[in-house]
């Protein structure tokens, strides 16, 4: 009896294995058409406007949706590309003009542009999407208002293919703000069909199901594991991407990412530690792209609520006691742009960011401390964000050693990523801390707006300077061509140089390794993945 059962079972298994050769789940498409990207980040939503959507998810907005306009892209000459903040290119809009005395933009939409379901993209879709961005609140609202867009009344459907954005006053940030990932154009018919009374903006539906017309469509999304894109072959809003299918696989461990691309299992590895990037580029087997991030600096924040830091001499002493070169070699592995050793205490160019006029000079730091009445030093915790331990930890250790030489005794305080925002940015209670801020819009005044203006989120230093307040307010909407603009931003930088509530160390880079024959990584201000430009030989 037993034997009989076994025989039947074996026959079954044999039969199944025959079937297996016919119906294998292995993707038949050869590797030539598929690009495998390994990334350390986890996508958590298909909808950039939803509450709680994390930064890595912005790639969905970039690749699966279109905006009215886009920034230009220029080659960096090393297999990598960089967005060009000075060039605004058409995407869904073929042309636009300033009307109503420079207080409104009129956009003409592309006639043959369709969503994935084949329906035409109309001005009504644009209006619905923009209304959604300013209504849902949270991050999209903040980003829209950075470009002066706060209310649904500012968006007007002129006719099926003409769309108008009204500004309260002329604003240089409005057009570039339409090129950031947030103001995407959603297929409003599909979204509305899935909206409910409690959820009129279809956030539940769009969270899991993208409804757009971008260059790539969703093939499958397994949260926490992978995101697979397929090309939308009827995409009209730019040159059709070369790669048919892209697999973005989450690999949290950076050394595993390095190993995968080194062994040829993956085509592109994102977010490599500087050390790996440096070694891979020296090994010369892979294409390694290392490009600085615009408008971004790794820096030390000195909290003005902490008594000793109220004294500008103490702040300058800290700036002179920083072991810049050591940190740059050890924490950055020499990749990035140095932000110390500037020649003059007032800026000569408008380049931003640029080196601050400090250098490692312990003697000078000591005498500044003495002048400030802190010859014996003081004790202060040095807080770092654990999510960025890769650079913050070695930097903090080296700083601790060096600050000890001028009598500042520090204890290193590691704060988990979740608490960091509350403690550093909202409560603004960290005395001495390591921080990074990168402005999406590449303007000095935009940086100062977020980092140096009183009460703003990234002013974790509690810095308050009436002149900065006034200068930023005046300069922010001002056109770059305005003759006062250069003067204003130079003055802002000068204040930053001399007051040093923030001591920049270096301008960080994005590190990407690509298998031989793969090209087209674009360094975007949002630092997220744009798969449209990749090519593979």
């Amino acid at each position: 009896m037993k034997h009989h059962i076994f025989r039947t079972a074996w026959a079954g298994i044999l039969a199944l294995s025959v079937c297996a050769t016919l119906s294998s789940n292995v993707i038949a498409a050869s590797r030539e058409d598929t690009l495998v990207i390994v990334s350390g980040a986890s996508v958590n939503s298909m909808d950039i406007m939803r509450v709680g959507t994390n930064r890595p998810s912005y790639q969905v907005a970039v690749n699966m949706y279109d905006r009215l306009v886009s920034f230009g892209i220029r080659s960096e000459g090393n297999g990598g590309y960089r967005y060009d903040s000075t060039v605004i290119n058409p995407e869904l809009a073929t042309s636009w003009e300033l009307v109503d005395d420079g207080t409104a933009y009129l956009f003409n939409l592309r006639e043959d542009a369709t969503f994935w379901d084949g329906s035409r993209v109309t001005a009504a879709d644009v209006k619905w999407s923009f209304d959604r961005a300013v209504t849902l609140g949270g991050f999209p609202g903040v980003q829209m208002s950075a470009g002066g867009m706060n209310s649904v009344d500012q968006f007007e459907v002129v006719d099926e293919l003409t769309f108008k954005v009204k500004m309260t006053s002329s604003n240089k940030l409005t057009l570039p703000d339409l090129a950031v990932p947030v103001p995407i154009v959603i297929n409003s018919k599909v979204a509305l069909a899935n909206a409910t009374a409690e959820d009129p903006w279809a956030t539940e539906y769009l969270h899991k199901t993208p409804a757009g017309g971008g260059a790539y469509m969703l093939e499958r999304w397994e949260p926490g594991e992978q995101l697979v894109y397929t090309r939308f072959d009827n995409w009209k809003n730019g040159p059709l991407p070369a790669i048919k299918r892209v697999i973005v696989r989450e690999v949290p461990n950076s050394s595993t990412r390095r190993a995968l691309v080194e062994k040829g299992d993956a085509d592109v590895a994102l977010g490599l530690p500087n050390k790996d990037s440096k070694e891979l580029s020296e090994a010369d087997k892979l294409t390694v792209v290392s490009t600085t991030i615009d408008n971004s600096m790794h820096a030390v924040g000195l909290n003005m609520n902490f008594e000793p830091f109220k004294n500008v001499k103490v702040r300058q002493a800290v700036a002179f006691a920083m072991p810049y070169q050591k940190i740059f070699d050890t924490a950055a592995y020499g990749l990035g742009a140095k932000m110390w050793g500037g020649a003059s205490t007032s800026p000569t160019t408008t380049v931003w960011p640029q080196p601050f006029p400090y250098d490692t000079n312990i003697q000078k730091a000591k005498s500044l401390m003495a002048e400030a009445g802190y010859a014996d030093g003081f004790e202060v915790p040095l807080s770092i964000d654990l999510s960025f331990a890769e650079w913050t930890e070695p930097t903090a250790i080296l700083m601790q050693e060096s600050l000890g030489k001028i009598g500042i005794k520090t204890t290193i305080n590691k704060i988990p990523g979740a608490s960091w925002r509350t403690k550093a940015l909202v409560e603004k209670g960290l005395e001495l801390h390591l921080k990074n801020f990168g402005g999406w819009l590449n303007y000095v005044d935009y940086y100062f707006y977020w980092v140096y203006q009183k009460g703003h989120l990234f002013n974790s230093m509690n810095y308050m300077n009436p002149e900065v307040e006034q200068l930023v307010d005046v300069t922010l909407p001002m056109a770059v061509e305005d003759p006062r603009y250069e003067k204003n931003i130079k003055r802002l930088m000068e204040i930053g140089f001399n007051d040093v509530p923030l001591i920049p160390i270096w301008q960080p880079t994005l590190e990407v390794a690509m298998a031989p024959g793969v090209e087209g990584f674009v360094n975007w201000f949002h630092r997220q993945l744009d798969i449209r430009s990749f090519t593979k030989k």
Binding site: L16, S17, C19, A20, S23, S24, N25, V26, I27, R31, T34, V36, V38, S42, N44, S45, R50, V51, G52, T53, N54, R55, G137, G138, F139, G141, V142, Q143, A146, H207, R220, E222, P223, G224, E225, I247, R249, E250, V251, P252, N253, T256, A259, L260, K263, D265, A266, S387, P416, G417, A418, S419, W420, R421, T422, K423, L425, V426, W450, L457
Partner: protein
């Protein structure tokens, strides 16, 4: 029923623990450029503006409806997230346990048959060394040697290599689902991915199993019926593998439950090293992001698991009990 007070305790402790996590989820999820107004909006949406007591009532009410809430971190409902990830952890843990049993029981028998000889000592050193190795250390070494240096193992990127699609879900175990689907290539690929993390777990679990086997076997071998069997001239091998081993299974079963839940916990670190999309890595990420619902859900699932496990062990116990004959 005895587990009910524990479960209630777990629910309360999980709630208190997760609510006292530092970091304001509203701030975290408002995004990088949020201002106070948008943070307040999000706090309201998440129900965080209500009193703690109110939040607890809402939480319990949802719980009775099987609603574990939405993970703020991954944006999915915690229930669907856990049901998708739990099989991954379970498949890994069970494979690890199976490997551990396959290695540890023979080792335990070997030691018991040769007590206080160098074989016994060697077995003991070996399994104790395994239990003494930090699980992240052994995982990293295995990856380095077998993937990076030798290239025998597939890349440590989770349950399937890049070019395979997950099989349609039946049990949630990729190896089994792929076989049900008749897709042996995917099944083999899934099995390959399992090997290294399962070995890492197994190394860790050798000691308790092997040592329990040894002592249970020693007790069994010293018992009257084995002596009687020996006196009757029954083949020694048969005595060891049939008479003694079957009786040694009982204490082994009790310790298996402990080992299993211990392994489920140890999964957290293994999943981290091998990018395994299980509930352990889910819980770690959730904890770091102060993701209340996800942490609570995880803890509850684990606690329920524990209760079910003890039940299963009790049932198995009666099944394996030699007084319940299997010959008849």
């Amino acid at each position: 029923m005895l587990a009910v007070p524990s479960l209630i305790g777990v629910i309360v402790v999980a709630f208190v623990l997760t609510r006292s996590l530092p970091g304001d989820p509203a701030v975290y999820f408002a995004g990088i450029t949020a201002d106070e107004e948008s943070i307040a909006q999000i706090r309201e949406q998440l129900g965080l503006d209500k009193s703690i007591f109110h939040q607890f009532i809402v939480y319990c009410k949802n719980l009775t409806q099987g609603n574990l809430g939405v993970s703020l971190n991954t944006g999915q409902s915690v229930a669907s997230e856990l049901s998708a990830r739990f099989p991954a952890s379970l498949e890994l843990t069970l494979t690890g346990l199976a490997l551990a049993l396959m290695a540890a029981i023979p080792l335990g028998i070997l030691a018991a048959v040769n007590p206080n000889t160098w074989i016994d000592h060697l077995c003991r050193i070996f399994v104790t060394a395994g239990a003494s190795t930090p699980i992240f250390f052994s995982g990293l070494l295995l990856v380095f040697v077998f993937y990076y240096l030798l290239g025998w193992a597939p890349s440590p990127i989770g349950r399937l290599d890049f070019f395979y699609l997950s099989p349609p879900k039946v049990t949630g175990f990729y190896t089994i689902d792929a076989m049900i689907n008749g897709d042996f290539e995917t099944a083999a690929a899934a099995a390959k991915q399992l090997i290294l993390p399962a070995i890492t777990l197994a190394i860790f679990a050798l000691a308790p199993i092997a040592r329990m086997t040894r002592s249970a076997m020693l007790t069994a071998m010293g018992s009257e019926y084995v002596k009687a069997a020996t006196a009757n001239g029954i083949d020694r091998r048969k005595i060891i593998f049939v008479y003694a081993l079957r009786n040694a299974m009982l204490p082994l079963l009790t310790i298996m439950g402990l080992v299993f839940s211990y392994l489920l916990g140890a999964n957290v670190l293994v999943e981290k090293v091998f990018s395994w999309p299980g509930i352990g890595s889910f819980a770690v990420d959730a904890l770091v992001a102060s993701d209340f619902a996800a942490v609570q859900g995880f803890i509850l699932v684990m606690a329920v698991m524990f209760v079910v496990l003890n039940l299963v062990i009790d049932i198995l116990y009666t099944l394996v009990d030699p007084r319940v004959s299997i010959d008849g």
